[in-house]
C-alpha cells in the first residue's frame, strides 16, 4: 500500500499546468511519430530529447514518457488502415486489423478495439508496476541466459499455433526467416557470418523493412487484382457513431486484453525482450484460447491481444529502467540518456534519491494513457476518410509510404532493397499458401534465442542439462516446454488408439 501512497504523491507532482501540457504535447507527437512507418519510438524519443533540455527534468521526462507510450497507440493506425505496421510491435495488429477494416468492413471498430485494448493493457501494466515497484525489476534479473533460453524455446512452440493450414510449409518458411535473421556480425565471437562479403549484409537484415515488405508491399501486389472491380460499401459507416463497439465486442476484447496485459508486462521486464516480442507472444497465446472468429481473418481478439501486450510491455520496461538503470529497449536507453543529461543518476538509487521524479513519471504514464486514448478516439473519423480513397489511387501512394518507411528505418537504400525483395518473396510464398506470420515471429525471437543459448552454453561450459535445470525457474519452464511438445503427440496417439475421441469442430 505504501507504493499507492507514493503514486498519489506522484500524481501531486504531475498535476501542474506545465506538466499536463507537456504530457498532452508528448502524446500528440507520439501518436504522429507512431503512425509514421519506419520511425519507431526510438527515433521519436531521440529526436525530441533535445527539445526538452530547457525544461525541468520532471516535465521533460513526463513529455518523453508520454511520447514513448502513445507511440504504441499510433503504430496501430497505419497497421489497420494500410496494412503497414507503423512500428514493429504493431505487426500483428495488422494481421487482424487490416482484414477487419477491409474484409469485415468494420474499420472504425478495428481502430476502437486497438485503442481500447492498448488502454487496458497499459493500465494493467502500470498497476503491476505500482504494486510490485522495484521488486518487478528484481524479478526480471532472475532471468539469466539459461532461463531466457528455455523461455524462448517455449515461445517458439507458438509458431506451431500460427502456421495455419499447412504446417510443413509454415515451419519451412519460419526456418528461412531464422537463417535470414542470422546474417550479420556474430556478437559472441566477433566474426562476420553469412554476409557474402557485403558490408550492408554485415549489419544484418533490419526487421522493419523486412516487415513492411512481407506484409505491406506483398499486399499491394495482391491488390492489383482487385483494384478495378472494387465496390464501395464501407462509406456509410465512416462516422464516429458507426465506429462504436457493441456490448458484444467489448465482451470479446476484454479477456484477451487483460490476459495480454498481464503477460505483456512481465515480458517487458525481461532483459532484451521488448514490446515486439511481447505482442507476438500474447498473440500466439491467444491462439491457444477460444476466439469467436479464427485469428488472422479480422478477429477482435487478435487485435486486442497484440495491442494490449505491446502497451503493457512498454509500461513493464520502465521497471528495470527506473529501479536499476537498465534500459530494456533502445527507447528506454535514450530515456536513460535523458536522465543523465538532467543530472539524475539512473541506477539502483533512483527510487530512494529522487522519489518525486520516479513516481511522478509513473503517475504521468497513467495520465498519458488516458490522454492518448482520448486523442486517438477523437481522430478516428478523420483517419477513416483514408478508406474512402479508391484502391487504384492508394496503390501508388502506399508504394511511396513503403519507400519512406524502409528508408527511414535504415537511413539507406539498403533498407529499401530489403523491403522490395522481401515484398516480392513474401508475395510468392503467400500466393502458394505459405503463411508468413510465423516467419515474422521466428525472425524476432530466433536471434534472442541464439544469443541467450550461446551465452548459456558458455556459462555452463557446454553442459546442456545445466542449461535446462540450472534454477527453479528454468526447471519449471523446461517442464512446460516438454508438456507443450508432448501434448500434440500424446493426443494423436490417444486418438489413434481410440482412447479419446475429439469433438467435431465445425
Amino acid at each position: 500500500m505504501e507504493n499507492f501512497m507514493w503514486l498519489l504523491h506522484g500524481f501531486g507532482v504531475v498535476f501542474s499546468l506545465q506538466n499536463l501540457g507537456a504530457c498532452l504535447l508528448g502524446s500528440i507527437l507520439g501518436l504522429i511519430v507512431g503512425a509514421m512507418p519506419g520511425i519507431g519510438s526510438l527515433a521519436g524519443v531521440a529526436l525530441l530529447l533535445p527539445l526538452t533540455y530547457k525544461f525541468d527534468p520532471t516535465t521533460a521526462i513526463i513529455m518523453l514518457g508520454a511520447l514513448y507510450y502513445s507511440n504504441m497507440y499510433g503504430g496501430a493506425f497505419s497497421a489497420i488502415l494500410l496494412n503497414i505496421p507503423g512500428d514493429s510491435p504493431a505487426v500483428l495488429t495488422a494481421v487482424d486489423g487490416y482484414p477487419m477494416a477491409t474484409v469485415k468492413k468494420r474499420p472504425g471498430q478495428a481502430l476502437m478495439t486497438a485503442n481500447a485494448s492498448s488502454c487496458i493493457g497499459g493500465i494493467v501494466g502500470m498497476l503491476i508496476l505500482v504494486i510490485l515497484g522495484p521488486a518487478l525489476a528484481e524479478f526480471g534479473l532472475k532471468f539469466g541466459p539459461a532461463e531466457m533460453t528455455v523461455l524462448l524455446l517455449v515461445a517458439m512452440t507458438s509458431i506451431g499455433w500460427l502456421v495455419g493450414g499447412n504446417p510443413v510449409q509454415g515451419v519451412l518458411l519460419s526456418f528461412i526467416g531464422i537463417l535470414v535473421a542470422s546474417i550479420g556480425m556474430d556478437v559472441q565471437t566477433g566474426v562476420p557470418r553469412f554476409d557474402f562479403g557485403n558490408i550492408y549484409l554485415l549489419g544484418g537484415v533490419e526487421f522493419i523493412p523486412f516487415v513492411i515488405g512481407t506484409v505491406g508491399f506483398a499486399q499491394l501486389m495482391q491488390l492489383m487484382d482487385e483494384k478495378d472491380n472494387e465496390v464501395h460499401s464501407v462509406t456509410d459507416k465512416l462516422t464516429i457513431r458507426g465506429s462504436m463497439l457493441t456490448a458484444h465486442d467489448w465482451k470479446r476484447l476484454t479477456p484477451p486484453s487483460l490476459r495480454a496485459g498481464f503477460v505483456g508486462t512481465f515480458v517487458g521486464v525481461l532483459p532484451g525482450a521488448g514490446a515486439t516480442a511481447a505482442s507476438f507472444l500474447c498473440y500466439a497465446m491467444q491462439k491457444g484460447f477460444k476466439s469467436e472468429e479464427p485469428l488472422g481473418t479480422g478477429a477482435i481478439e487478435g487485435i486486442a491481444a497484440s495491442e494490449s501486450a505491446n502497451n503493457a510491455a512498454a509500461a513493464g520496461s520502465f521497471a528495470p529502467l527506473l529501479a536499476l538503470g537498465i534500459p530494456g529497449s533502445g527507447t528506454g536507453a535514450v530515456l536513460l540518456g535523458g536522465l543523465m543529461m538532467w543530472g539524475l543518476n539512473p541506477g539502483p538509487l533512483l527510487f530512494t534519491n529522487d522519489p518525486d521524479f520516479a513516481w511522478g513519471l509513473i503517475a504521468s504514464l497513467f495520465i498519458s494513457n488516458i490522454v492518448a486514448l482520448a486523442i486517438s478516439l477523437g481522430i478516428i473519423p478523420v483517419l477513416l476518410k483514408i478508406l474512402k480513397v479508391p484502391v487504384r489511387i492508394m496503390i501508388p501512394v502506399i508504394m511511396i509510404v513503403c519507400f519512406l518507411g524502409a528508408y527511414a528505418a535504415t537511413y539507406s537504400m539498403f533498407g529499401v532493397f530489403i523491403m522490395l525483395i522481401s515484398g516480392v518473396v513474401g508475395y510468392l510464398f503467400e500466393k502458394n499458401d505459405y503463411s508468413t506470420a510465423p516467419m515474422l515471429l521466428a525472425f524476432v525471437l530466433a536471434p534472442l534465442l541464439e544469443d541467450n543459448m550461446r551465452k548459456a552454453f558458455i556459462a555452463t561450459g557446454g553442459d546442456i542439462s545445466e542449461v535446462f535445470f540450472s534454477s527453479a525457474i528454468a526447471t519449471v519452464l523446461t517442464i512446460i516446454l516438454i508438456v507443450l511438445c508432448a501434448f500434440p503427440i500424446v493426443r494423436t496417439i490417444l486418438i489413434k488408439t481410440g482412447v479419446y475421441t475429439p469433438k467435431k469442430k465445425d
Partner: protein
C-alpha cells in the same frame, strides 16, 4: 504537357536544393553549424562509449562552447561496423554535421573484420585514456580476487561477462598472464557493459569486466564491488581504490590495456569544420564539468590531442595493431 513536365522537374530540383542544403562555409573560411548535428555511437546506450559521448555533448552545451543541436544516434548493427562505414562514407554538406565516437575498441574490430581503415575518417580528437576493472556482484560466488584465484587453482570454471572490442583484448591479456585457457575462465561478449551488468546482478555470471563509468552507480548502491584493477597502479578514486592490481598477488605481473577514447568525422569533412570541432572538444576537455564530472569521477586519464596529433596517433596505433594480427595496412 511536355512543358509542364519540364517545369515541374525544374521547380523540384530547386526545392530539393533548398531543403537539402545546409550551411556552407562562410567567406572567411570559418565554420558555424546551422543545422542538427548527428553524433554516432556504435555501442548500446548506457555503456562506456555512450557515457563519454553524453558527457562531451553536455559539457559543450552547458558551457556554451557550441550551441549546435546534437542528436546522438546509436548504430550498433554489425558490431558497429555499419555505423562506422556510414560515417566514413558521408559526403557533401552532411559530412560537416556528423561526428562519431571512436575508441581503440572500435578500431581493433574494424581492422580485424572489415577493410575500413582510420584513413577513411577525419580524426577530430583524442580525449582520454580509460582502463578496466573486474567487479563481483552482491549475489555472486566470489567476493574477492583471491577467491577467484583459489577457484581457478581448484579447477573451477569462472565466467566473466563484458562488452565487445577493447574489453576482449583486456580479457585476452588477463588469461595470458594467468596462464588459464578460455574454457576455464570463460568470457561472454555482450553488446555493452550494461547488458553484462544485468547478468551479474542476477547472479548468472561470476564477474563483470568493465570501465569505471558504467559501473559507478552500482558500486555506489552496493550492488557491485570492484575486486581487481586491470591497471599498473590502483585507481585513485574513493570508489575504486580498494581494488588491488594483479601485480599485488604473488607470481603475477600487472595487466593493463589502456583504451583511448576519441572522436572522428567523415573523411569528407571540410577543414574549416574539422578545425571547429577539434576546437570545441579542446574547450570541452578544459571545462570543470568534464574534468570533475567525467574524468575524475570515472578515474580516467585526461589526455587531449588535437586533430593533427590524433590522426598521427590513430594511424600509428592501427599500424601496430595490423602488424600484430598479421594484416597488411
Amino acid at each position: 504537357m511536355k512543358r509542364s513536365f519540364v517545369l515541374a522537374v525544374a521547380m523540384l530540383m530547386a526545392a530539393a536544393m533548398v531543403f537539402a542544403g545546409g550551411s556552407k562555409e562562410s567567406g572567411d573560411g570559418t565554420f558555424t553549424p546551422t543545422r542538427d548535428v548527428t553524433w554516432t555511437v556504435t555501442s548500446n546506450p548506457g555503456g562506456g562509449s555512450d557515457i563519454f559521448t553524453q558527457e562531451a555533448k553536455d559539457a559543450m552545451l552547458t558551457n556554451g562552447i557550441s550551441d549546435a543541436n546534437i542528436v546522438i544516434d546509436y548504430v550498433t548493427d554489425g558490431g558497429g561496423e555499419v555505423g562506422r562505414l556510414n560515417v566514413s562514407r558521408m559526403t557533401g554538406a552532411r559530412a560537416d554535421y556528423n561526428l562519431i565516437t571512436f575508441n581503440s575498441g572500435d578500431l581493433m574490430p574494424m581492422c580485424l573484420n572489415t577493410d575500413n581503415r582510420v584513413e577513411n575518417f577525419t580524426p577530430i580528437a583524442i580525449m582520454a585514456v580509460d582502463k578496466q576493472l573486474l567487479f563481483a556482484g552482491d549475489v555472486t560466488k566470489y567476493q574477492s580476487w583471491q577467491e577467484v584465484l583459489d577457484a581457478l587453482a581448484a579447477g573451477q570454471r569462472v565466467v566473466i561477462a563484458g562488452s565487445k572490442g577493447d574489453d576482449i583484448e583486456t580479457y585476452n591479456a588477463l588469461i595470458a598472464e594467468l596462464g588459464v585457457d578460455e574454457s576455464q575462465l570463460a568470457y561472454i561478449t555482450n553488446d555493452s557493459t550494461s547488458t553484462a551488468i544485468t547478468a551479474l546482478l542476477g547472479g548468472h555470471v561470476d564477474l563483470v569486466l568493465g570501465k569505471p563509468a558504467a559501473a559507478e552507480q552500482y558500486v555506489l548502491a552496493g550492488r557491485m564491488k570492484p575486486i581487481l584493477a586491470l591497471s599498473n597502479e590502483r585507481f585513485p578514486t574513493e570508489l575504486f581504490k580498494d581494488a588491488p592490481t594483479l601485480g599485488e598477488f604473488e607470481g603475477y605481473e600487472n595487466v593493463e590495456v589502456p583504451v583511448w577514447r576519441g572522436v572522428a568525422a567523415p573523411k569528407a569533412m571540410s577543414d574549416a569544420a574539422a578545425d571547429y570541432w577539434t576546437e570545441c572538444l579542446r574547450q570541452v576537455s578544459e571545462t570543470t564539468d568534464w574534468q570533475e564530472g567525467y574524468i575524475q569521477r570515472n578515474a580516467l586519464i585526461s589526455q587531449f590531442m588535437d586533430r593533427h596529433e590524433a590522426a598521427e596517433y590513430m594511424a600509428q596505433y592501427q599500424a601496430d595493431y595490423l602488424a600484430k594480427i598479421g594484416k597488411d595496412a
